[in-house]
């Protein structure tokens, strides 16, 4: 025991430089950012920036909008990602490899490029609209872009791997014999899915969905481009506050609020997770 502790202390010496770098590079800026929100223009401590967050309705409205768009994007991700992962689980190993490659390759392409690609695909003269009109499903182009629909399509595309990969891994770990056992005991396929398969994938689904949700909260590029400035998300508002006006203190207060909301959501998830796990 003592030897292990000594070893630990020994190892600590090696990681100290790394810790110092992490503290300086990551945590100090965050602390500075937190402090900035309480910094008055005239110098000294103030809570006026936080008061302003509550006074001007725009901030809370954008926050609510961000949460709503993120929830919907997360749900869209689940609706697409879960069946996709489930379908991939049933493939032959070779087909699984190909499907996995298709899910992962977009990771290698810049988010910016992918987002602009959606303009080509979804624009009024884009592939989708031309197909819709050619098949006669619509007469005039459907506006996919510069609204929430476009933002959500774009975010779902960018974030899908974050949900599908952990979910697929969790599904692969489920022993087929569990489902066979359930079938031998007389359970119909729907019961097997609802009582055996789904519960076993729920932890991975929940953590994957949470990851997607939190990533959505801070998304900048996709809402900026596909939303065309008409879908205000917090990160776009922050950009405005920092680069256009500039009002760094207000931006700091707003991002602190976002951080708190994110942490609260994460805490709720952990509490739920522990309750389910017990």
């Amino acid at each position: 025991m003592a030897a292990i502790l000594a070893e630990r202390r020994h190892g600590f010496g090696f990681v100290t430089p790394l810790l110092v770098v992490m503290l300086a590079a990551f945590n100090l800026p965050i602390l500075y950012m937190l402090a900035l929100g309480f910094w008055s223009k005239q110098g000294g401590f103030t809570t006026e920036h936080y008061a302003a967050l509550l006074d001007a309705p725009i901030y809370l409205r954008v926050l609510a909008n961000t949460l709503r768009v993120s929830v919907v994007a997360m749900l869209v991700n689940i609706a697409i990602g879960y069946p996709l992962a489930y379908w991939m689980r049933g493939l032959s190993p070779r087909a699984q490899f190909i499907a996995l490659a298709c899910v992962i390759t977009p990771f290698w392409i810049s988010v910016l490029v992918r987002t602009y690609a959606w303009i080509v695909v979804l624009g009024n003269n884009g592939m989708v609209n031309r197909l819709l009109q050619w098949t006669g499903l619509t007469d005039s182009p459907v506006s996919f872009l510069y609204n929430e629909l476009g933002v959500m399509i774009g975010m779902a595309n960018v974030l899908l791997p974050f949900l599908v990969l952990p979910l697929f891994a969790a599904m692969l770990r489920i022993d087929d014999r569990l489902m066979q056992a359930a079938a031998s005991m007389g359970a119909p396929p729907s019961t097997i899915f609802l009582k055996v398969f789904l519960p076993l994938t729920l932890p991975a689904l929940a953590s994957g969905a949470l990851l997607v949700f939190i990533l959505c909260l801070g998304f900048y590029v996709t809402p900026a481009i596909l939303g065309g400035g008409k879908v205000p998300m917090i990160s776009n508002l922050l950009d405005f506050l920092i680069n256009q006006i500039p009002r760094w203190e207000q931006a700091s207060a707003l991002s602190t609020l976002l951080l708190i909301v994110t942490l609260l959501i994460f805490a709720a998830y952990r509490a739920l997770d522990r309750k389910v796990g017990a």
Partner: protein, 318 residues
């Protein structure tokens, strides 16, 4: 309770025959063991009977009803997997209750049945545990309780004791046999352990490379093996030449060690097995194994002895 019939069952994987023209009839309430080396097709046969897999050719009848092609849900079979396949996210109680909930058993009856099943396998105190919190033997018993709690017509057990240590395995063998007798369910047990097969079953079916080698009562298969494979697989076999160039098998217990008057041999090894001693002998280049009761002064390594046996104890094989 129901009988099982396999009629010319084959299961092909490409050119490979995991089951090759298997015929088997198991009577109602009978305990049959399928015995064979690893890869001989034992699990394949069970999965065919349970309906988890479809035969390439042949018919399966349960209780006289042709169930070939019908899904596992319609076969009312209690199945214990080699790996137990307990639901990791459910308590012991919920695992055992699963087949009853599927059958919409009312809560009071469900509770009573689950507790009775858990009592039968001596796990009543562990109903709220998760499978991961149980030992291998306890998990095995949960799997067993889950397989018979819904009163299936037949019970299929795939090497259920395979992963356990010897003492626990022997305890559970006795429990299993008593349980099977008490509920009188038609049972097929799969094992590669010949002692388990011989001690538990009414009849054994010996399988090799997907083909049936012999179906017989345990002592019959042991003393009168159908061929050399069965003779070798079931315990220790001594092969002796018979007149006419044929070969015969004689079991170690049937060989006597005398001072003179038989085949001269030297003791190479003496293994103490509690009640008996097993002698490994060398008779002019031919190896023999004899088992003698552990009474009096045992022979030492290097002793010269004389081997005798009754001609009636030699069984001709091939």
């Amino acid at each position: 309770m129901t009988d099982i019939r396999l009629e010319a069952i084959s299961k092909h994987y490409g050119a490979f025959k995991a089951a090759d023209n298997v015929d088997l009839a198991v009577a109602q309430g009978e305990f049959v063991t399928i015995l064979g080396p690893s890869g001989s097709g034992k699990t394949t046969l069970l999965s065919l009977i349970a309906g988890l897999n479809q035969p390439t050719t042949g018919r399966i009848l349960i209780g006289g009803r042709d169930v070939t092609g019908s899904p596992p849900q319609q076969r009312n079979v209690g199945l214990v997997f080699q790996s137990y396949a307990l639901f990791p996210h459910m308590s012991v109680f919920d695992n055992v209750a699963f087949p009853l909930r599927v059958r919409k058993t009312p809560p009071d009856a469900l509770r009573a049945k689950v507790m009775a099943a858990l009592e039968l396998v001596q796990l009543q105190g562990l109903a709220n545990r998760r499978p991961a919190q149980l030992s291998g033997g306890q998990q095995q018993r949960v799997a067993l309780a889950r397989a018979f709690v819904f009163e299936p017509d037949i019970l299929l057990l795939d090497e259920p004791l395979g992963a356990l240590d010897r003492k626990l395995r022997e305890e559970l063998q006795v429990e299993l046999k008593q349980l099977q007798r008490r509920i009188g369910v038609t049972t097929i047990l799969v094992t590669h352990d010949q002692e388990e097969a011989l001690s538990l079953s009414d009849r054994v079916m010996v399988l090799d490379r997907g083909q049936v080698q012999q179906i017989a009562a345990p002592q019959e298969a042991y003393l009168r093996p159908a061929n050399k494979f069965v003779a070798d697989f079931l315990g220790i076999a001594n092969f002796v030449q018979l007149p006419g160039g044929r070969e015969g098998v004689i079991r170690p217990e049937r060989i006597r060690l005398a001072a003179s008057g038989g085949l001269a041999a030297k003791v190479v090894e003496a293994v103490y097995l509690g009640q008996t001693i097993r002698y490994h002998l060398d008779a002019g280049g031919t190896g023999f194994v004899a088992a003698a009761p552990f009474v009096g002064q045992p022979h030492a390594i290097g002793d010269s002895v004389s081997l005798t046996w009754d001609e009636a104890d030699v069984w001709p094989v091939a």
